[in-house]
């Protein structure tokens, strides 16, 4: 069986891939996908800690279940905002949506 370190390392690398996606992309849809990648990295780490360190209870699994529910709510509200913005501005690039800063 694989040791805990490898699962945590995988989660860390996946989290940083998501962070990189938020930093380097301008397309707002890809930014939201990167947020989903980061949530999934945290889920993997929670489940791995639960499986290796706290096998007598189920808390890590239950919390990753809650994170999935919160991610569903976040995606629906974010996409609704995105549709409203696109209808008004006709663009999905965040460097063109900076009317609040200047």
């Amino acid at each position: 069986m694989v040791s805990l370190n490898l699962f945590i390392a995988l989660g860390i690398v996946l989290f940083f891939i998501g962070l990189l996606g938020v930093l380097i992309r301008r397309n707002i849809i890809i930014i939201m996908i990167s947020i989903e990648i980061m949530l999934n990295a945290i889920n993997i780490m929670l489940v791995a800690f639960n499986r290796y360190k706290f096998i007598e209870n189920n808390d890590g699994l239950t919390y990753s279940f809650f994170i999935i529910a919160v991610a569903a709510a976040e995606a629906s509200v974010g996409l609704a905002i995105l549709i409203a913005v696109y209808r008004k501005r006709k663009t999905v690039f965040v460097n063109k949506l900076n009317t609040m800063s200047n």
């Binding site: 069986m1 694989v2 040791s3 805990l4 370190n5 490898l6 699962f7 945590i8 390392a9 995988l10 860390i12 690398v13 996946l14 940083f16 891939i17 998501g18 962070l19 990189l20 996606g21 930093l23 380097i24 397309n27 849809i29 890809i30 939201m32 996908i33 989903e36 990648i37 999934n40 889920n43 993997i44 489940v47 791995a48 499986r51 290796y52 360190k53 096998i55 189920n58 808390d59 699994l61 239950t62 990753s64 279940f65 809650f66 999935i68 529910a69 919160v70 569903a72 709510a73 995606a75 629906s76 509200v77 996409l79 609704a80 905002i81 995105l82 549709i83 409203a84 999905v92 690039f93």
Partner: protein, 174 residues
């Protein structure tokens, strides 16, 4: 066998997640994300959490990402439009910084005397990660309130608020 499966799923997961943030066409990157969620579901099975693996495919790949796909189809982006996403000098700096931070953290984790030491997995009972265990912690058993029942109710209120706000935001005149 489990080591081989871990490396197969892990490398596949990192590859598909990497292509999801690199590809220019949002449609291709969503499909790459769906494949990476199947790899994550395999990792949950490896960690003996079958219920979470099923939820991952049904809720994440089946509902959330298909919602993303529908929204992209609504946008009807042209090729000349999404190809405008170019790299700049600032992006090189952020790639270097993120690579530095990730390599430092991974080096901290994979060394032998790290905070998460090389603990091998003990064998678990059949109940671990099953639907029954989830139901006990969410709803309680035989008159006793569950450990996470309150959080479950809060999540349901949050989902209701999300439904209402999505309907209000998607209306024609805000």
């Amino acid at each position: 066998m489990e080591t081989f499966l871990f490396y197969f799923l892990g490398i596949g997961l990192l590859t598909t997640a990497g292509t999801a943030i690199v590809l220019k066409n949002p449609m291709h990157s969503i499909i790459s994300m769906i494949v990476s969620f199947f790899f994550i579901s395999g990792l949950y099975l490896l960690l003996s959490a079958p219920f979470l693996a099923v939820i991952q495919i049904m809720v994440y790949a089946g509902a959330i990402l298909v919602l993303f796909l529908f929204v992209i189809m609504l946008f009807d982006l042209q090729k000349s439009e999404y190809q405008k996403d170019k790299f700049t000098k600032f992006d090189i700096v952020s790639i270097l910084l993120v690579g530095f931070g990730a390599s430092k953290l991974v080096a901290l984790v994979v060394t032998s005397n790290s905070v998460v030491n090389f603990s091998k997995a003990q064998s678990v009972s059949n109940d671990f990660g099953s639907v029954k265990a989830f139901a006990y912690s969410l709803f309680g058993a035989s008159g006793v309130i569950g450990q996470h029942s309150f959080v479950f109710e809060v999540i349901s209120v949050l989902l209701l608020a999300a439904i209402i706000s999505a309907v209000v935001l998607a209306k024609k005149r805000l």
